[in-house]
Amino acid sequence: MTGYILRRLGYMLITLVMVMVVGFALVELPPGSYLEFHIQQLRNQGGDVTQSQIDSLERRYGLNDPVYVKFWKWISGFPKGDFGESFQHQRPVSELIWDRLGYTVVISITTLIISWTIAILVGVYSATHRYTIPDYIITALQFAALAVPNFLLALVLMVYLQQAFGMHVGALFSPEYRDVPWSLAKALDLASHLWVPVLILGVSGTAWTSRVMRANLLDVLNMQYIQTARAKGAPERTVIWKHAVRNALHPLVMTLGMSLPGIISGETVVATVLNLPTSGPIYFQALMQQDMYLAGTFLVFLSIALLIGNLIADIVLVWLDPRIQYS
C-alpha cells in the first residue's frame, strides 16, 4: 500500500512538471506582452511613457530574456514559494493567490461532499423505485439540471433572491466581517453565504452522479449474490445498503477524478458571475490582460488541486476495494 502511494506520488510529480511547462507555454503564447498592454493603457490615460521607463520596466521583469530563462526563473521560485510578480497588481503573485485558492478549495470540497451525499441517496432511491412516478420525476429533473449552464443558474438565482427576498448575493462575507481576522463569528458568516455558490455548483454534479449511482446500483441488483442475500432471508434494508450499495460505490469513486475538474471549472465561472473573492475572477482577468505569471500560477495550482483529488480518489478506491491490485 505504501509502495503504491509512493509510486502514485512519483507519477504525480512528473505530471506536475509537465503541467508547469504547458501552463507556462500557454500563458507565454499570446502575442505581445503585458508591458505593451500597460504602455497602451498609460498612453490612453494621456500619460507619456519615455523609453527609459520602458527599459527599466523590461529589465525589472526580465521581459527580454529568452523563454527558457524566463521559465527557469519562474519554476525555480516554486519551491521557495516565489511565483513571480503580477504586473497588473504590482505585487508578488504569492501575496495574491493563497486566500483565493483557499476559498476555491473550500467551496469545491463543500460542494463535492454535499452533492455526493445527496446524489447517492437520490440514486439509491430511484434505482430501488425504478419506473415509478418519483423515479420519472427525478430523471426529468436530472436532465434539466444537466442542461442549465451554471453561470445562467447563478444569474437566475441572483435575480430571484433579489426579487423575492431583497437579498444581495455575490459575496462570501457580510461587509462587517470582510476585513477582520478569523473568528468563530466570521466562520459562521462564511457558512451563511456559502450555500449560494454551493447550490449553483452542486446542481449539475448531483444530477450526473445520481444518474451514475442509479445505473451502477441497477447493475449490482441483478447480481446473483443479491439473490442469495434475499434467499437467505436478509431484510431488504440490509440487502440494499450492505450488499448492493457498497459494491455500487466503487465505480462512483472512480468518477471522482472526473467530477472534480467539473466543479473546479464551474467554480471559476460561477465565481466570476457572483463576484466571489476566489480564483475565477482574478484568473480570467489576468488572462485577458496577459498578466502571465499570475495566470500561469493559478492554472498550475488549479491543476495541483485536481491531481491531489485524483490521488485521494485512487487511495480511497484501494481502501474500499481490496481486490484492486497496487500496480
Binding site: 444569474l155 473546479i264 471559476t268 492554472l299
Partner: protein
C-alpha cells in the same frame, strides 16, 4: 487465402438461408429501438426545427441583427393583438405605435404604447438586406410593419438591436460549434485511440501521457487560457477564423475521452477471434483497422460523440459569456448573455435572458438524442 476471405464459402450461404427466417438486420433493430424512445423523437424533431429556423434566421427576423435603433434602447417586445381596428378578432396580428421619451427624473427611456391606433403586421414585408446561408440575397422578411415602425418580437438590447434577430444569428454559431467540434473530436479521438490501442508500445505510452496531461487541467480554465492566446480580431484574423479556432480548442480537450474508450475497445478486438482470423488470412494492419475494427466500434464512436455535443455547446456559451469566446461583430448565445450579467438590468429587461432558454432547450434535445442513441446502439439488451 486472402482472396477467399472476401467470398463466403458455400456452407455459409446455406446457413444464412436457413437463418433469414425471423432475422432482422442490426441497423433495422437499432432504428426500431430508437423509434420506440419518445424523448428521442422529441429531441430529434426539435433539433431539426431549430436548425431550419437558424438557417432561415435573416428571413424570419424583422431586422438585421446588427441594426442599432437609437430610439429603442432596451425597448420591450413589440405588443401584439389579434383584434383589428373594427374590434373583431381575426388572424391578422396588429401592433401599436410605440414612442420613446426620456423620463428626466428616473433618467431612463420610457416607451409609451398608443393603444388607440392599430398598425397591421404584414407578412413577407420588405426590410433590411440580407444574405441567407451566405449566398441567397433578399430583403423580404416574414414579419414587418408599414412605415418607420419595426417589429421586435423579443425586444431590443442595450444598443437597440433586435434580440430575436440576434438570437437566430447567434444560434448559427452556438448550434454549429458543437457539431464542428464533434467532427474534429471523432477524427482526432479515433485516430489517437486506434494507434494507441492497436500498436501499443512507445506510441501508446506517449499518447496516454498526453491524454493524462490534458486531463489534469480543469477544463474551462484550460479553454480560457487557449482562447486568450488567440490574436485579437483584425483584418488578418476574422471573426470566422476565431470561430474555427474555438471549435479546435473545444475538441482539443474533448478528444481525450473518446480516445481512451476507443483504445480499450481496440485492445479488446485485437484479441478477438475475427481479428485473429483476418491476421491468419494475411490481412494488413490497415485492412484490419478499417474493415474489421472500425465498423464494430462505429456505434460506440457515434454514441460517445453525440453525448459530448451538449458539453461543447455549454463550453462555448461559458467562454463567450466570459468574453473569451466569440467576439463582436460575431454573436453567439453566450456573448448575448454577457449583456444580462447585472441583476438590475435583467430585472428590468427580462427578455435579455432568452438566449439562456435557447441554450437549455438545445442542450436538452441533444441529451435526449444522445441517451436514446446509447440505448439503441446495443439493440440486443433488454
Amino acid at each position: 487465402m486472402a482472396e477467399m476471405s472476401d467470398q463466403p464459402a458455400p456452407a455459409a450461404v446455406d446457413a444464412q438461408e436457413v437463418s433469414t427466417v425471423g432475422e432482422i438486420a442490426q441497423s433495422r433493430l437499432i432504428w426500431m429501438r430508437f423509434r420506440r424512445n419518445k424523448l428521442a423523437l422529441i429531441g430529434g424533431t426539435g433539433l431539426i426545427i431549430m436548425y431550419v429556423v437558424i438557417a432561415l434566421g435573416a428571413f424570419l427576423a424583422g431586422n438585421d441583427y446588427q441594426y442599432q435603433n437609437e430610439d429603442y434602447l432596451y425597448g420591450p417586445p413589440t405588443p401584439v393583438t389579434f383584434t383589428g381596428p373594427d374590434g373583431r378578432f381575426g388572424l391578422r396580428p396588429y401592433t401599436y405605435p410605440v414612442s420613446t421619451r426620456l423620463d428626466v427624473e428616473a433618467f431612463k427611456f420610457v416607451f409609451d404604447i398608443d393603444r388607440e391606433t392599430k398598425l397591421p403586421i404584414e407578412f413577407f414585408a420588405r426590410g433590411d438586406d440580407y444574405k441567407l446561408l451566405g449566398f441567397i440575397k433578399g430583403d423580404v422578411h416574414l414579419l414587418g410593419v408599414e412605415g418607420d415602425q419595426r417589429v421586435y418580437p423579443l425586444g431590443a438590447d442595450a444598443l437597440g438591436r433586435d434580440v430575436f434577430a440576434r438570437l437566430l444569428v447567434g444560434g448559427q454559431v452556438s448550434l454549429t460549434v458543437g457539431l464542428a467540434g464533434v467532427a474534429l473530436t471523432i477524427i482526432f479521438g479515433s485516430l489517437m485511440g486506434t494507434i494507441s490501442g492497436y500498436f501499443g508500445g512507445l506510441a501508446d505510452d506517449v499518447i496516454q501521457r498526453v491524454v493524462e496531461l490534458i486531463m489534469s487541467f480543469p477544463t474551462v480554465p484550460l479553454w480560457a487560457a487557449l482562447a486568450a492566446a488567440m490574436p485579437p480580431i483584425s483584418t488578418d484574423f476574422s471573426a470566422l477564423d476565431r470561430y474555427f479556432l474555438i471549435t479546435v480548442i473545444l475538441s482539443l480537450v474533448n478528444w481525450t475521452g473518446l480516445s481512451r474508450q476507443l483504445r480499450a475497445k481496440v485492445m479488446a478486438y485485437r484479441e478477438s477471434d475475427f481479428v485473429m482470423a483476418a491476421l491468419a488470412a494475411g490481412a494488413k494492419d490497415r485492412r484490419i483497422i478499417l474493415t474489421h475494427m472500425m465498423p464494430n466500434a462505429a456505434s460506440h464512436i457515434i454514441v460517445v460523440a453525440a453525448l459530448s455535443i451538449p458539453g461543447m455547446i455549454l463550453g462555448e456559451t461559458a467562454l463567450s459569456f466570459l468574453g473569451l469566446g466569440i467576439l463582436p461583430p460575431a454573436v453567439s448565445w453566450g456573448s448575448m448573455l454577457t449583456d444580462a450579467q447585472h441583476v438590475p438590468v435583467v430585472i428590468e429587461h427580462p427578455w435579455l435572458m432568452t438566449p439562456g432558454i435557447a441554450v437549455i432547450i438545445a442542450v436538452l434535445f441533444f441529451s435526449f438524442l444522445g441517451d436514446a442513441l446509447r440505448d439503441a446502439a446495443d439493440p440486443y439488451s433488454i
